[in-house]
Subunit: 377 residues, 2 copies
Amino acid sequence: MRPTGKLLPEHGRAHNRSLVLQHLFHNGPSSRADLARSTGLTRVTISDLVSVLISEGLVAELGIRPEGKVGKPATLVGMRTEDFHVLAVDLADDARLRGAVMTLTGAVVARRSASLDGRTGAAAVAVLEELCADLLTAASTRPVIGIGIGSPGVIDPQGTVISAPNRGWYDLPLAQRLTATLGVPVYVANDANTHALGEFTYGGAVGDGLMVVTVGQGVGAGIVLDGMLVRGPNSAAGEIGHVTVVDDRDLRAGDPEPLLCACGRHGCLETLLSLPALRRATAAGTENSDAVLASVGRKLGVALAPVVSALNLSEVLLSGPPELLDGPLREAALATVRERTMPLIGQDLVIRTGSLDEDGALSGAAALVLNGQLGVT
Amino acid sequence: MRPTGKLLPEHGRAHNRSLVLQHLFHNGPSSRADLARSTGLTRVTISDLVSVLISEGLVAELGIRPEGKVGKPATLVGMRTEDFHVLAVDLADDARLRGAVMTLTGAVVARRSASLDGRTGAAAVAVLEELCADLLTAASTRPVIGIGIGSPGVIDPQGTVISAPNRGWYDLPLAQRLTATLGVPVYVANDANTHALGEFTYGGAVGDGLMVVTVGQGVGAGIVLDGMLVRGPNSAAGEIGHVTVVDDRDLRAGDPEPLLCACGRHGCLETLLSLPALRRATAAGTENSDAVLASVGRKLGVALAPVVSALNLSEVLLSGPPELLDGPLREAALATVRERTMPLIGQDLVIRTGSLDEDGALSGAAALVLNGQLGVT
DNA sequence: GGAGTTTGTAAGGAAGCTTCACTAACAAAC
DNA sequence: GTTTGTTAGTGAAGCTTCCTTACAAACTCC
């Protein structure tokens, strides 16, 4: 599908407005003249945009800049990041839905959760809806910008869950439905994808070309290229959990036997790299657990090498328990990718654990709202 | 690097103008009312845009639409694809530079080539420049929109060759330089990348999520996602030639021995999948050449599987001699990718040979110009 | 021939950005 | 203490771009 869609002057306005918010979000309070310089727009236009943002309450004047330089002192304006709330929900866990009220900077203000008790389908939607309503009351002190939801499964750009087997959801227009019933903009996306977006928005991910590998019940991945989430033609980008990494044909010393995967095939990455699998492997023989982790890391590295090469990624983040991921596993993965790619590609690559780990999924969901509602990335 | 850059009304205008050209290019002659319907702009705006395009000569009125329906008969307007020329140059070959004069639809009008005779660096630039001048005279019957050049190496979005070892070019602002000396807009990009763009623009690539694997002296790849070329943070996306696909640790029956690669490492994809390697392999024992090709295909499939999964690609094109690529190699690659990815991903995947093969590189270079100069993709 | 439909254009208006001109408020130099 | 130069922010006029409304032209169908 080739890019289509007309571009009206008002879209340009919205873009420029996001540019201002983007700058204020990432660089902190600035003067109007600063904004003009860094966006390339004139001071007149910036003044106009800022006055609208102030009248909407998103931005406030913060007084005169302290440092005295030559010329008229600047009036600082800043985003009121603490005066609005974003609700975030993480549906990654099969048993409990975890939610939080957050400020625009990603600070958690309150937490709520709900148990699924094995419910799926419409019943699971009801639990989610109740949790959201619960969060809405918890956030009643401040206006709520929107609700972000990270869910496992394949989800299209409009927030329709195309397929989420674990929740029993198929072709479910979740975002649309919740937006209607809750009266607040709701965004839904794949959990690994939101994770990547969260790291890009809140985390220390500086450069472009970021891939976040999320290790939980299974493995997922999200990729950010050119500041945009890669979704893929069928919205199924990032589904690397079921790539074969253990061949049953070339067993070699030290390699694990290809295990049966939930998908019905053998030797998927997910049979090695997932919390259940890692816990099983490390608990059994604590003796050689480092060796096991390194072995999994090597398998991950083998799978990553072609992706890193094809996309010229600069950073791969592993998200999950650092005690499992941040040791031999990470090191082996990095070493393996470097071994298997050309120096120009592999040498500059960084593999590290996510900077938001504990609340990574929630931050990602919040970033979804920031991105959709304010254009901030 | 996060997306920045102001958006002025005139940029919107340029975008909408491209939208019109895009529609005319891909859907053929249309009425103004048709254009209005498919772009979402009003008939008034379309009339205005079309009148500008007509005054520039890019578009012409073609008379009344034959089919008589109810209402006032429509006046067809169409892009004057045959009344302009694009020059394309392919630098993939180490010995000869191949160039062509093409119409906007990619039809070759004239060919020219030049021998490098081992020249590199500035001397090679001089040969290229001469070839371009030669093409310009050959194209003198019609206005030339621009020149597109596909070159091996790493090339940044501005057309600066960051590194092209085979030509001895490093940090060479080739596009800028040739634009200045030739007085025509010049675009330069990696040959595999332009190839992908060409397939997307001219070829039958319908869906999104396209990867083109170009097999020549070496292997390269170009990826088109969301209608845009993936360049990567260091402009090195697509460099899959030096991904390790043969492990020296797990030799198994039927596997080739990991060969020394030009990059100094062993077992790179390029040591198996490149014209010299394939020719050597198939010439030696014609007996089992199918088996050898299938084996290479399997190795390619192993490398592709993670990429296809991570990006949810829908189509992989193999570009090169069909007699080598379009048989057992292609089939083995497809089978292997399907074996090694989850059904949702692999089942819909198509692997085929490029539809532009003979002049694929040239078409890609031409597409570069169309894209840059007219916004047509 | 009239009614209905579709195409294309003209006129007027709203939105968005720019340039030009101006005031305000400061530091540094004399 | 005054002058000079710099920087910040705003107001007015103007250009571009698109839209809505209105209308004429040209066809089919009845």
